[in-house]
Amino acid sequence: MASLFKRGRTKATQTERVRERKHEGFLRYAGFRWAKISGGLCLLIIVSYAMVDVTPRHNGGSWYGYTLGTIGAALILWLTALGYRKRKMTSTAWSLKAWTSAHVYLGLSLIVIGTWHTGFQLGWNVHTLAWALMLLVILSGLYGVIVYATLPAALSNNRDEMTQMQMLEAIRAFDRQLHSAAQPLTPADTAPVLAALDEDPFAGGIVARLGGRYPNCATAAALRTLAASLSSDAAAREKVVGLLKQKVAALARLRAHLRLRALLEIWLYVHVPLTFALIAALSAHIISVFFYW
């Protein structure tokens, strides 16, 4: 640049602190550092499993099995700690993005660590329960990774610079206008409008929230009724129909927003409780193994 002012922050001043300003997502963090580490670990396990000769055969009780089991159990506890790390705002330099990146890739490596630990001996017992729960946790996490990678752009497009509060506020504003606009209507036309006013935008339950379908939407019903109605003053009805159309659009935006947010969050309600179930099963697995040593 033609400036003498060296504005780049290449030379840190004494008080300059750690700054994260590289623009990259958690999956690409540090040039896929954790993907490489995790992949390397898996490769090491697969190769060494084939090379190491354990008698009579590979199983969880061999020295090799114990090693993998210990690594796996420690890893599970460390991965669980993300929930604490994310909420504990200590002042030292750490990056939740780095933690998430490591969590994702090391979590995936547990498929190999856990499965190879079993020596492929599965059955109907507490040991296999722990293994199955671990796979379920990983599976739900995998869903989380996929939605985190795909849905944010849709969330951003749908909200179009509006905040959730503003969406709710817009619906309330239409309600107020509907309330006064519906005054001249006949009782038969007023009833569906009143029902639409009483509608709770959050109602509908988990299925509607996740599916985004609201067949019993009172606003949509009111719009259908009034569009087909022949009673009431035409001008007044037209105005109400216009407002209802706007409210339907506003509701659609809010519902799409809530749906996307629900899809981004729902898996955590599976992932986290299953993790605790896994830790319980894991404890039972470890205790029983040592009990029958």
């Binding site: 033609a2 002012f5 330099a93």
Partner: protein, 811 residues
Amino acid sequence: MSEPVKVAIIGSGPAGLSAASRAAQLGLSHILLEKTDHLSDTIFKYQKGKRVLATPERLDLRSDCRFAEGAREYILGNWDEDAANNKVQVAYHAEVAEVTGEKGAFAIRTAKGDIFHAENIVLAIGTQGNPNRMRCEGADLPHIIYQVDDPEDFKDKHITVVGSGDAGIENALGVAEEALENTVTILNRSKDFARAKAKNVADMTEAGENGFMSIRTETQPKLVEAGWLTLETPTGEEKIECDVIVARLGSVAPRGFVESMGIEFTGPDREAFPKLSPTFETTVPGLYVIGALAGYPLIKHCMNQGYDVVEFINGNQALTPADEKDLAAIFAGLPQQKSVSEWLDYLRTRIRIFADVSPLQMREFMLDSKVAFYGKGDVVFEKGEPGSSLFAIADGHAVVEVGPDVTVPIEQGSIFGEVGLISGRKRGATIRAGEDAIFVEVSRTAALKLMAAVPGAKRVINRISLERQLLQIFKGGLTVEDLQPIVEDPAIERFPAGKVVLAEGDAGDDVYVIRSGSMVVEKDIGGKPIFLRYLPAGSFFGEMAVLSGAPRNATVKAAVASEVIRLKGEQFKDMLAKRPQVRAATEAAVAERAAMNDFIESRKASYSSAVDLYSDTATFIMKEGLGEATDALLIDENLCVGCDNCEKACADSHEGLSRLDREAGKTFAHLHVPTSCRHCEHPHCMADCPPNVIHRGPDGEVFMEPGCIGCGNCMRNCPYGVIRMEAAPPEKPSLLRWLLTGFGPGPGEPSPKWTKKQLGDEKPKKIAVKCDMCKGISGGPACVRACPTGAAIRVSPEEFLSIARLEEDAG
């Protein structure tokens, strides 16, 4: 007609009351004139229970009245008691209409027609002015208020706002907040709201359409009764329910009144104060001005001045001001031993910018300044360091390292560091003491105040800074003599944001230097303006045309309101001819820029969409005001999952309040600019902070130190709405306790409901809350650290709009 008194004090606020108490204690005949029926009307009108702070803490209180931080009632109660104990003579309902006469025989006529005679007058009327009152019948009823301190004091009430200016509309919008369930009506005598800002009118209209308030135009109040208000409407009279009337009918500023007495001000601008001697005497002998009107808005200052001014009037020459010991502390570390007044005189006579400063102003500036001794070779500051203070050389000289092995001396009496003052950017060069020296460091706010109050100081600073800026930009190849013709008659031009400085294809060979603000360079490629680069303050442009003689090859326009220095092409050519170094530097810059232009043009052919996106993104960023940012939070909405962990981290890293609103703000191509501080080059929030607690820190962060008085000026001055007025919530139970037992509100800002429950009836003072870039937290900004997906980044505009980025995006 009354007996003449030694001193009449006009205004019974902290300053006037303290003055009257001192007069009473000294046994001087006196009278305290108060226009209302109670003392200290400004504080009286504060909302109930409002906490009044006693800043600055380091200043000792010297008064016969008590004052310590406390609730409004406590302070007013103390003062009433003190006034009675001191046997202060008060005349209530004495609004002064006119002052005539001269020292020894002033006559003061009140609005009621009473005349008071006094030898001296102390004016302590503050700066609030008198709000215009309602004029209809019943206008003296107590439910008519003239200000709204806190809209939340009104719940479920019928409120009528009279007045169609910004103040009225803002109050109406405040109390019309849905949660407060008030029924709000706003009255306007005329048909439209011509006096108010368009944004306020739009907000009000929207609130009206949404049924939050009723807007009545061509309507005015006719009769006020308790609970009811009769209106005069175009269709006849109408009676509406009304529990509170908020009258915002403008006010008469006190300046006209003060000038009518013959008192001169320091200048014509709004910030000017009456000219005062060290004893607070104005240009009219026997007339004294103290308190907010004299430029001291803080209560403690006012009370001390009240005490001092009466001592002076009583002939006490030996009195040293209450700040004497603070000043003594400032001079304590210096090798020579001098008294405070000797030091002040020493500085005033030896430093050019202080030449026209009055002794009283000098004390004030020194309180915001530091004086230090530097041994030969000691570094004062290093190139690239942040800092916006101004240095003046009281003794010895300084040397500037303008280039490798090139130093330039700065002589005694001159200043340095002024570039930071003007452009708000980091230090441009390293400065050392050339010999054993004494430098004065004046804070940015004190320096700006100095420039506003003392025109002579402003001229000197401007001239020096212009000269230095040019020297620095042209890499030390020039000398002061080369710049003489330019500095003598500088062509400084101002451009509002978005205004074109030069257009592509124009003829012309003038060269421009950006003095403050920033510019964007665009080029028309394929019929579309393509963003080429961002030019921060301190860059120059237009030099290509001088060297090539061709028309302008790109358009340059102001990204934010900017100031440029225009150099004639001829002048510039002369400089180039005389100084081969400058020619080489300029040619190198031209080559670099030409290469960048070529790069973008070539990319445009092969990666058209990437270049378009880069260009559109740059345009968006500039439109969002990030041209004046130094460090802003951006969110990539391709990655943001909406977890709000950034907000929670922000709240938990500070006193439980989030300084950012992730969801609010504009978005372009999934790049979101949330509502959070950008740490502007010239922070708007700093412009008017009475206790002067907003500063720029060592990492470039604009932060607030403790001492905020909650006036809300910064919040109103911030164009980006990033400052909140909020009280810190009570301590939360620990995170582990919440995780294990669910007790408490969990991470992040607690809900207002929880806070309210914890506090009960206590109403803590709301102070300004803003991003401090996590100052003092070694890990750096918490919002970015706590983002699980990497969506949140903090960048400066030139980092974000670098070519490297375009290359990255283009793959």
